[in-house]
Symmetry: C2
Subunit: 724 residues, 2 copies
Amino acid sequence: MKKTLLLLALVALPAIAGEGKWTPQQVLELDPGWLKKQGLQVPPKRLWDPKRGTGLLAGTVNVGGCSGAFISSTGLVITNHHCVFSIVQEHSSPQRDLITQGFLATSREAELPGKGARIQVPRSFTDVTKEVLASVPAGADDLARYRAIDRKQKELVAECEKRPATRCQVATFDGGLQYVLVDSVELRDVRLVYAPPRAVGEFGGEEDNWMWPRHTGDFSIIRAYTAPDGSSAAYSEKNVPFKAEFFFPLATRGVKPGDFVMVLGYPGITFRALLAEEMAERQARFYPRIIDVYGELIRILEEEGDKDPAGKIAVASTLKSLHNRYKNAGGQLAGLKRGRIIEKHREAEEAVVRWAEKNGQHAEALRARAELRSRIEGMGKTWEREFQLGNLRAGAKGQALAVLLARLARERALPDLERRPEFMERELARLKDQVEREQKNLFLPAEKRLLQAFVRRAQALGPEERIAAVDKHFGAKASEKEVAAKIDAMYAGTKVLTLAERMAMFTETAAQLQARKDPLLAYALDLATEVAALEELRDRRDGAAQRLRPVWRRAVLAHAGKPVAPDANSTLRVSFARVQGYAPRDGVFHTPQTTLSGVLAKHTGAEPFDVPDKLLAAADAKRFGPWVDPALKDVPVDFLSDADTTGGNSGSPTVNGKGELVGVNFDRVWENVANDFGFNPDVARNVSVDVRYVLWMLDQVEDADALLRELGVRKGPPVAQEKR
Amino acid sequence: MKKTLLLLALVALPAIAGEGKWTPQQVLELDPGWLKKQGLQVPPKRLWDPKRGTGLLAGTVNVGGCSGAFISSTGLVITNHHCVFSIVQEHSSPQRDLITQGFLATSREAELPGKGARIQVPRSFTDVTKEVLASVPAGADDLARYRAIDRKQKELVAECEKRPATRCQVATFDGGLQYVLVDSVELRDVRLVYAPPRAVGEFGGEEDNWMWPRHTGDFSIIRAYTAPDGSSAAYSEKNVPFKAEFFFPLATRGVKPGDFVMVLGYPGITFRALLAEEMAERQARFYPRIIDVYGELIRILEEEGDKDPAGKIAVASTLKSLHNRYKNAGGQLAGLKRGRIIEKHREAEEAVVRWAEKNGQHAEALRARAELRSRIEGMGKTWEREFQLGNLRAGAKGQALAVLLARLARERALPDLERRPEFMERELARLKDQVEREQKNLFLPAEKRLLQAFVRRAQALGPEERIAAVDKHFGAKASEKEVAAKIDAMYAGTKVLTLAERMAMFTETAAQLQARKDPLLAYALDLATEVAALEELRDRRDGAAQRLRPVWRRAVLAHAGKPVAPDANSTLRVSFARVQGYAPRDGVFHTPQTTLSGVLAKHTGAEPFDVPDKLLAAADAKRFGPWVDPALKDVPVDFLSDADTTGGNSGSPTVNGKGELVGVNFDRVWENVANDFGFNPDVARNVSVDVRYVLWMLDQVEDADALLRELGVRKGPPVAQEKR
């Protein structure tokens, strides 16, 4: 092993690049010399040319809330296993258990179309700040401001989406300092090409989730198709592979510690532009309550699942998502404390305040900050009620579905542009699909206990924050037993959990729903009224924030005097990073790469550490092929870098300085969960699958010759060339 | 931070020195050039001069089964907190809780004498192999061989101990290839000078035991006293500090990663000279049964302790020792597997066999090996019975004490040289003390359940391995309930648990004990007969091993063709090592030093992570004094090196190449427990308290000025010099 490589593997390098999820535009504003010094070997313009809407970033796509990357000119996209799991699930049956076995299409014809699977390819970013702000009438109060901005955004999107196969959004930066219209091509024929066995794609399961050392092969390969003329089209046998102008060649030599990498993708949401006091509020109330409430939900689902094998399967997906948020909340709290993130934020904020006070130009910013701070307190009185009404989706599915149907019925009565975004026409197909899919997650005994838990918490609310629907339908002071009896009756009498009935309800008016005299619907219609009222309250509050935060942020940015990457908002970003480990605690260092030996060392034969036989066979026989890391003398599996990522970066391509794919991002480490609030360079590490593990799987485990040839990794007659 | 230092902290260095617990004589046989290259800066002769019985090794003492080191010419000895805990306990009371508060003698007069505390200072090592072997009569069978050797050893010890204040032992090397008479001066006036609060000395408790990262300040300082004429004497106010000719100056600059260190001390017992098949037998039966039986005992003590606060205190010490062995057994099994220790041993053994077969000279050795292997099978039939009778001490105290009294009564009837070693006159004072001390560990509800567990296991034994005493006193097929009733009656009727009565029994004959008609004693007298018979069986077996193993080992050593360090046998040894970390698993590296920040990070305010206020105050105020490590920028706490240690090395001085004390050894890491069977350089790491943590505690936390001056660390008026 070369000494320098070894040393790099073991040393925490100074964070020179990590912080910042840069927008495509900002990349062009950064000093090209600095970028070159970091390790970028192509001109920044190769990343993104805003005029033409082209460049490597155009190869970075949105895969249903995840990120992904074109890796061939023939429409192949690599993303995470968990991002396209629903396609695997859709085609899986007890007779053909693709979930367990994995799937490799042996020909183009064999690829599996994913119902509702979509890929969005970025086309252009247009600053629409002036138009958006101009829409606010003079003298508008906060609610009117919110509504004007909301409507303008919807109009811009509607106009943009007149172009065929187009998906648009207006993204808000720095709380409203800038609005950008994002225009993407939506590809609607997406097919599964390769998914590893679940025991590879989810190796380590909940236990390893958010953790390092990690040994998960969380990747899958899909392909986008278009009509023969290249236009986006729904699934058809006549369709042809999408011709990707920009794609990431695979870096077959992989990465080594110290290497420069970029993570490209669509990070969802972060909170770094919040005031320190706003962060403190989340720390003090929000995350502890998530742990409290979600912890209870998890306990209920686990207990009920343990009583019934079919129930266990039904609740599995819900449990997974609850666990994920629960663990995340714990990580946020631990990370905020460990990184002193709020304290540091407060210090930085105070530096801006001192500067603004001296400067004199920013009196308005100081007033805005003061008002934002004063508004935090106002939220106190009904905070618990808001939390409970705001988290209906995490609880009983019947309640959540019934409320959704009730809300949909009322919203649909409004003109499209006046509806809440999630109920607009452009969303209804997807929403309908969701309402249908929930069927497989229903499990009545768990349902009832989840609702009971919700009612119990609602009953305990203070006099100023009653949930009237609960008081009306269950009784404000009803005993547990009485509530249980009412819940039994409600579930006995409802048709919401019957698929055909529910799908019929999806198109009904509020009056029709009411006329059904369905007890769960009756309760939900009342509850929906309260939710809608609460949302109006929130709109007003958001209107105030839209009025205040940009003013404050303008001062913050002026004080910085250099480009500052904005909070994540599901738009395309780039993070510059380096492959490196970190010290999770005194006396311990997490080295930045894991290996196939580590996979075997974790193998117990039982979930979630049950390595598939074909992988074991290849590993035991040391059939490494050309995918051995020369320093590790083993097949590399996952690696760490200090990229600035968050949820939504799942499936992000991790690429080297030449723009070649070296890995697929799929997680952050536990110590780094709180980077949503602030970047702590000591522990800011994202986790990627090493491209060589992807290639080793395809080559040595799956014999995926055709695919490897298509990826440009193998030439000529494949089998003869390899030593097997 | 200097880059090289950082790198050294993070890299697993090639094991160049680690393996081998060398005897003083062997150190002189090793290549001095090699030792110098390792980092030894003094001539090997400075370590040990066998003619004069002097050198640095003479400063390494035995402290009641632990190791220790003189650190001043005035009799100060440093060892582990857990090695002198009994002195702290002896002087502790609810009114003066030295256990919790710790203790610092403010003057010589204030030092606390330890009842029964002893220090043995090595004086000479004499090869007595010829005499021992000559004692075996021609044609002796295995039992006669064992008895002849046993008797000869006792005679040599008795002769040796005629000299005043002398403690001797005949140590066996390589299964009987060599016998060495070890002659030590025994100092009998030992006083406590400093013990840290338990929350420092045992920081991390069971949870961190055997673990890294570690943050325990497991050290204490005692002082040896002699009569004014320098001769060893019992405690007296007239006594004066022992004048130590050899002692270890404190290396106030500490150690850094990569530094050469030596660990000196009295390692207890290791098993590396066993045949691979003998190791495999331990792996297959012994350790799993320890985990099974001790696990049950632990469960009982914890359950009963949880019911009663006084009971919890009573069982605490027993629990600690059970936990330690339980965890150790798990570590042995994990380490044997991880290090492929038995496989490697088998390969090495087979290499010797092949060599011997070719060589022709060692036919006898091959026969000896074959017979040793064949004897393993013979043990199968009554293995379970032997295990149970061999582990009485771990179970019910009443049973163990009663059996001890019964055996003592019978042994005392024999001439001293014919008794088993533990019942010889020279041991009786210590034994009496033990029998007295057990009083504080008694807790009747736990007692009864422990005995019940023993009876249940005995009842389950096969027909060839019945324990007759159990069948007689409880019934071979008695129900749990019947047994419980008999145990109740036994404990209701016995006086063994009454201190004064028990101490009277200590001097009684078997007939007197029998005449008491004490039901527990009656049972124990029967059980003791079986134990004695079993011991004879074992003596015969040991006689066979004494006949066979040296023959095989001679071939092994001849094959090696270079010095091979023998198994530990509680005699003085040196291990040469380097400060370095290790990789416990894929993706993780344990760095070799921990810091005060790490102590604070573990602090929860609750046991076992409850940092004392005075330490917190000093740490929070960053009152580091001169004890900061320049690379760590923090006070170092514990460090790792690859020294070859085992039980008995507790309290061993860890010294640098100049012979200065850099730390006090107190543990091995979990991954290294199985080094008792073979050295695995990848994970062979011992844990020492850094001398700078010792000094920081004395200086910044305890204000122990006088002590620091005596240690040569502080000169002149101390307080004025320090920034506080």
